[in-house]
Amino acid sequence: MTAALLVLLFVIATALFFDFTNGFHDTGNAVAASIATGALKPKVAVALSAVMNLVGAFLSVAVALTVTNAVVRIQGDDGAPMPELVGNHGHALLVILLAGLVGGILWNMFTWLLGLPSSSSHALFGGIIGATIAAQGWDGVKWFGDGTKIDGVVGKIVMPAVLSPVIAGVIALTGTFLVHRLAGKGDPERTGNGFRWGQIGAASLMSLAHGTNDAQKTMGVITLALIAYGSWDDTTSIPFWVKVICALAIAMGTYLGGWRIIRTLSKGLVDITRPQGMAADGASSAVILTSSHLGFALSTTQVASGSILGSGVGRPGAHVRWSVAGRMVLAWLLTLPSAGVVGAAMWVVGHQIPGVWGPLAVMALLLVGAGSMYLRSRQHVISHHNVGEVWDGGPQVRKSSSRVA
């Protein structure tokens, strides 16, 4: 096996690993409210979401290869890599992708460890932006678009991050208020089942949309790596096996269930009633689909968290834990720069150490980082067994309360 092929395999493996973290990091967006209200049992909820993600990923017929074009300058307009990056089997481009993916994975694992829902797409773009800055300087990044369409880091990431929770929050607040006014006085025993189906429908729709949107990004990254290496040359389609492995990776990640994040979304922010859960899920689905229809895709995570918060504000008598919300917003603000710093550092390691040893060192750092965070998570395990325990000051489930249950 040649050194160049090994680097390509590293990129594919990290891209799939990222896709997997993308799955478990975002499970909660679709299913947290259903789990909180008991509309679905935790295991059933993640299984449903995983299946819908899998179907959604396979719906990606026309995958845009221009994944990175909105924020950095490493690809041409047709999605092909920049010519100056493809020498030596695309080594320069592969190292940027590898470093960026590792930045995204490590930030996703870190926020998962803390139980904080943050945007996986922003983590991926943050990592790639950081690696690109390290490789090409600040000019490698598109901060603003050219004014003809929404583009650049500010247009595609910073502004949506600020606006999406507010938009989703206002809509969920309105929806929850209306739903409670209309149905709040009804007998919960007889209305509960209706709201249950409403929630299941909305959660399925959100998972389907997630599968198409998010799995596509990884498919695009892997295909870009294949083109740079020289084993694929079509910029209008992607290899079928790439689609299959990406779909499986995101579905398996979803099925694993990011229980730490599900716990924060379902119990941490606010206690959720059935009508409220249906209103929050309805608001999230509508905002996600409307925004992607209008070509201004918003982060699923920020939309879902904003909806759940808004639904808490909209229900009379609900108690919103603003300290948890504050921590979450802080994580959103830090996502892009943090993943960027890690991505940049990884690029320096991967580039400075000569030959295949650089990428090998990056892989070693990834394994050490991800492995230690996984081990740390085992000290306070949160799983489908204890995800619904009473929120007692923090995400950790106190020993005593889990014994009672």
Binding site: G56, L59, S60, V61, A62, A64, F144, G145, G147, K149, I150, D151, G152, V154, G155, M159, P160, L163, I167, A168, V170, I171, A172, T174, G175, L178, V179, L182, A183, K185, G186, D187, R190, T191, G194, F195, G198, G201, L205, L208, A209, T212, N213, Q216, P275, M278, A279, G282, A283, S284, S285, A286, V287, L289, T290, S292, H293, L294, G295, F296
Partner: protein, 102 residues
């Protein structure tokens, strides 16, 4: 600056369409659920609840509510499928259709 203007006009549009669909459809659904559940059950003298079934008008109205919501869900699925195929959805006379992206 041009980017910010584009962002705000898109966000504004999402807010209004989102309010209509994201708050409106759940409210219509809630109305349907409430209609099907029948009028609030009064407590009978012997403390047992009298279960009242919804009448035909209520059931028809509930059906209309659910039909409106189902239409919204169908459009949602079409947007996802269309997005996956690189197409967009148009709404001529309320009938959604997939067309190639302009």
């Amino acid at each position: 600056m041009e980017t910010l203007r584009l962002v705000f006009s898109a966000a504004w549009e999402i807010l209004w369409v989102g309010l209509l669909l994201g708050a409106g459809l759940p409210a219509v659904f809630a109305a349907g659920v409430r209609l099907l559940a029948g009028p609030a059950a009064p407590v009978a003298e012997d403390d047992s609840e009298v279960v009242r079934r919804p009448g035909l008008p209520q059931r028809v109205l509930a059906g209309v509510c659910f039909a409106v919501v189902l239409y919204g869900v169908a459009v949602g699925i079409l947007i996802v499928v269309g997005g996956g195929m690189g197409k967009e959805v148009t709404f001529d006379h309320l009938i959604p259709a997939l067309v190639p992206k302009s």
